[in-house]
């Protein structure tokens, strides 16, 4: 059974015309966009924004992107976008958008896959699924709550790791499935139960984000390790362009 939480998300949020004030290449296939909003809105770690592109004839295409920046971070809102081949919006954001451009955005959205720093959090991300978890990690670090957070990120190779220069720390662990950095102690392999930090503190809530296959494997692994299923929140990143 999933928790029937009371709403912690916003009731409604208007479209805003955000200005792109910074673009950072995370990997060959992922970029982070810093967005300045006319009316900044507080967000929760784990929420997302919708980005809408509009053609001159009125045709629109919208996609949701997780917020990577921490709630309360005085710097600009940051979203990270994976470039999906053939993806209408992600390819445009990657190939066309430059600093100074304006984008219609709407958010923050989502009241389920959020962490407010109130319970121990076990974060398990695969590939681009690290993005909302990074917002949680950054939030914990910014607010002296790192003791509450444990993060495991699974990536194929070192070149696929987002936030590489920032993510390392005593609260985070990395799993490489294909290629590891030189002298990395763990051989390349898929996520196993031994990769999950244990013991898992009582009352821990788990946040699993990644592809559907990764999310299924990781969430069932956590249940098998004793995390009650209602305490496992899952977000699946599909190739939705």
């Amino acid at each position: 059974m999933i928790d029937l939480v009371t709403d912690s998300g916003p009731r409604s949020s208007p479209w805003q015309n955000a200005k792109v004030v910074g673009i950072k290449e995370e990997t060959a296939r992922a970029k982070s966009f810093q967005l300045a909003l006319p009316e900044p809105a507080p967000h929760l770690a784990g929420q997302h924004y919708v980005v809408r592109l509009t053609a001159p004839d009125g045709y629109t295409a919208s996609r949701s992107y997780s917020i990577a920046s921490a709630p309360g971070d005085p710097r600009e809102l940051e979203i990270t976008v994976e470039r999906l081949e053939g993806g209408e919006v992600s390819t445009f954001l990657h190939d066309e958008v430059a600093v100074g451009d304006e984008l219609d955005v709407r958010g923050p959205i989502g009241g389920w896959f959020v962490w407010e720093g109130d319970v121990p959090a076990l974060l398990v991300g695969g590939g681009s699924g690290v993005v909302p978890l990074m917002a949680m990690l950054r939030y914990a670090r910014l607010n002296g709550k790192v003791d509450l957070v444990r993060l495991v990120v699974s990536v194929r190779t070192p070149e696929d790791l987002y936030y590489a220069e920032e993510i390392a720390g005593p609260e985070s662990a990395l799993v490489y499935t294909r290629v590891t950095p030189a002298a990395f102690p763990r051989p390349p392999a898929r996520l196993t139960p031994e990769d999950i930090p244990q013991p898992i503190a009582a009352g821990t809530r788990a946040y699993v984000c990644g592809s559907s296959g990764f999310a299924d494997a990781a969430s069932h692994m956590l249940v098998d390790l004793g995390v009650p299923a209602p305490q496992v929140r899952v977000e699946r990143f599909g190739p939705s362009g």
């Binding site: 939480v5 998300g9 592109l53 053609a55 009125g58 919208s62 219609d104 299923a229 977000e235």
Partner: protein, 203 residues
């Protein structure tokens, strides 16, 4: 709106499929999976579906009993709030009309709250699940509905965004008021009509 995105033309403007509601794209052969909880293991030997709340008498069907009801199919399109649509799909199951008819809906009922074995809920106006518009579906393209898509059986309300089509559905409660479900309490729209782009609260 009145403004457009610099450099965006909309993919060279191929002719747009009129079956696509505004803001949606055709996902083609893919069927993305978007669920917020651990995928449950639902055994058809213990499966049941219950209609309760404002009914003449609550009714419960086992897997075999619900299959003995008149079969009903849907052929058409489905639309996810995350902007993908899947066109020309076929589902099989039983019409919600059949289930409500067996339980007997009280005149005061105006809404339903659908529930799943995971605890997921979603709210719908009664009018959106009656009149041959909604099903409990267990077949997809002539085969058993896969578990990641809500199998063994899910609610199917294809004229609304697909989060209304609760996966692993286990019952419907008839209510005399609207009671927001899981996503509806988490920022999403109470009705979710894709042709009106009712995606989020306030749309």
């Amino acid at each position: 709106m009145g403004r457009f995105t610099r450099g965006f033309s909309g993919r060279g403007q191929k002719e747009r499929d009129l079956r696509l509601p505004p803001g949606q794209y055709d996902t083609g052969d893919r069927w993305p999976v978007l669920t917020a909880e651990v995928t449950p293991r639902v055994d058809t030997a213990t499966w049941s579906f219950t209609v309760d709340g404002l009914v003449a008498k609550p009714a419960t069907w086992s897997w075999d009993e619900i299959h003995a009801l008149p079969a009903s199919t849907f052929a058409g399109d489905i639309h996810c709030v995350t902007t993908w649509s899947k066109l020309g799909v076929n589902f099989g199951g039983v019409s919600i009309d059949t289930l409500l008819g067996a339980a007997g809906v009280q005149p005061s009922a105006t809404h339903v709250l659908a529930r799943s074995s995971t605890g997921y809920t979603t709210n719908l106006p009664l009018a959106d699940v009656t009149g041959d518009k909604a099903w409990v579906a267990w077949e997809y393209e002539g085969k058993p509905l896969p578990v990641e898509h809500g199998g063994p059986a899910r609610l199917l309300v294809p004229h609304l965004y697909f989060w209304k089509s609760a996966k692993w559905v286990s019952g419907l409660q008839l209510l005399d008021h609207d009671e927001p479900g899981f996503w509806e309490r988490n920022g999403y729209h109470d009705r979710g009509d894709p042709w009106l782009e009712q995606r989020y609260q306030g749309d």
